[in-house]
Symmetry: C2
Subunit: 313 residues, 2 copies
């Protein structure tokens, strides 16, 4: 899991902390800034996606790009270029930063309107992206020992107001829930919807395991790519998998709990609201899922190599 | 309503398009950019306020600062300085830009955490502000003729998820409502809450007038400073004023409708979902309120002069 600077350059910009694509140019991450007038900032009117690279290979990149393009269409925006160029930009960010293991983010904002005009149809949408060393939501120790989950008292923004299938930055509910979680001694949090059914946490989906079946909330959540990977692995393994309405009672009745995120993969939950889940250690079904998830990163049909030749472009 | 460059300078930065305060320095607006990693951007985890200057005087600035500080406390953030310095920064932005009529925005974001840490308590909050020429949500013609209001089919983000009293950038519901409005031939929009009660529009509050009384939604809305000004003017005029639960039926039954915003003041609504409000022209109660609102901008107890001497600071 080491990060290797594959293409160090004696001259030129220093991309060692990350490479961004901003206003049509590749720039060091520290120089990647956005106007405080962009509607992505002043209206959080944007969608994004985060893919990752592991040991020099993009993991399920097409699924991320499909979701990103779907979010863009739902928000009635338009990318300034096609899929091929989008993909080339992401590969180039990783290549220029010389990363073997990378967190690769792409955002499209509404941009800015003509002066004095408020019609969102007249904005020029603004694309940017960046690659940085792989990000872990859980430390290596937390991944071995399991994370501690808190159930928030704050309801998730309703899906009728903001479509959770459009990956978005409307996170104040998540942020205030994180305050709650940290103060309760936890480090992860899950939010209920207004009806009291479980949804998701800040950047991750939730699964429970019971009687040989994995279950994850089916509605009011982002359809996470890692969530999808777990569902696909269940199918390959002939293990039961279920998308359903779930409540906190299902959490308490679970034999095992895990959370999924591109930033960290499959992570065991070993405490729920201060009480141990099962025997308080990562369960065997979770450990098996975690191993399979990482093993898939080398599979030809689940990943493809970064085009490091684009570093010179 | 002209904009005068009071202190043009031969050398030094060009603040004619606006002056921002960013990372502790005064910079031309075009240079005011924020890191794409700031949690204000990637989590819309921030609060803001917008005050205005009219004919060289800040209008009810204390009320804006009170609200801004209240939002900061509710989001559990901290300003890097006290009220006196905050106020001096805003005056200086206006003074350096040489504006007599200005739109003055201030934002505090969560900022960025230490590398690898997700605990929002450990972020260094990030303050910025800017002054630009006064912004009108409605053109001069629209202010004379009235704006056209659409009732959105999209519900406003619920107050249990995101406190609407904390002025925030969670606007995707508003943005998608604006698409609806423009396509319906309107230019303003109001959203219902999940229970079907009226709330607010993107940047403005709503009032109806009937039987001698002004009524505005009492819950699930930002407590707008212009909304407060209208309520105070009702009190001064001995006109009835009411904060209440309202539905679209109340809009249809209204004799007059107006919307309020710092960016434009009191604006008459003369069409509702394609039908004329009253006789389709701004009503006399609205016109009177609009005149009084602007007249108050010169009043000693409602406004105070910009400290233009700070231009040289």
């Amino acid at each position: 899991m080491s990060v290797t600077q594959l293409h160090p350059k004696a001259d030129g910009p220093d991309f060692s902390a990350g490479c961004a694509f901003m206003d049509g140019e590749f720039v060091p991450l520290a120089d990647a800034k956005i106007s405080i007038l962009d509607w992505g900032m002043v209206r959080s009117d944007c969608t994004y996606d985060v893919a990752h690279v592991w040991k020099g290979r993009f993991f399920r990149l097409e699924k991320h790009l499909d979701r990103f393009e779907s979010g863009i269409a739902r928000l009635r925006m338009e990318l300034p270029f096609g899929r091929e160029e989008l993909e080339a930009v992401l590969h180039t960010c990783v290549a220029k930063a010389g990363l073997e293991d990378a967190y690769v983010s792409m955002t499209l904002t509404r941009g800015r309107p003509l002066k004095g005009i408020r019609d969102p149809r007249l904005c020029t949408n603004n694309f940017y992206a960046f690659a940085v060393p792989f990000v872990w939501l859980a430390t290596p120790e937390q991944q071995e020992d399991g994370v501690h989950l808190h159930v928030s008292s704050i309801p998730r923004i309703d899906k009728a107001s903001v479509d959770p299938k459009v990956k978005n930055y409307h996170w104040i509910d998540m942020e205030m829930s994180l305050f709650e979680a940290y103060e309760a001694g936890a480090n992860f949090v899950v939010l209920n919807d207004l009806e009291g059914n479980l949804t998701e946490g800040p950047g991750y989906n939730l699964f429970t395991y019971r009687d040989g079946t994995w279950t994850t909330p089916g509605e009011g959540v982002l359809e996470g790519i890692t969530r999808g990977a777990v569902l696909d692995l269940c199918s390959e393994l002939n293990v039961g998998a279920n998308e359903a309405v779930m409540t906190v009672d299902d959490l308490h009745a679970a034999e095992e709990i895990l959370v999924t995120s591109t930033a960290g993969g499959v992570m065991p939950v070993t405490q729920l609201d201060g009480k141990p889940v099962g025997n308080g250690k990562p369960g065997s079904a979770t450990t098996r899922m975690r191993q399979l998830y990482w093993a898939k990163h080398a599979a030809e049909d689940w990943s493809k190599p970064v085009r490091y030749d684009l570093a010179e472009s």
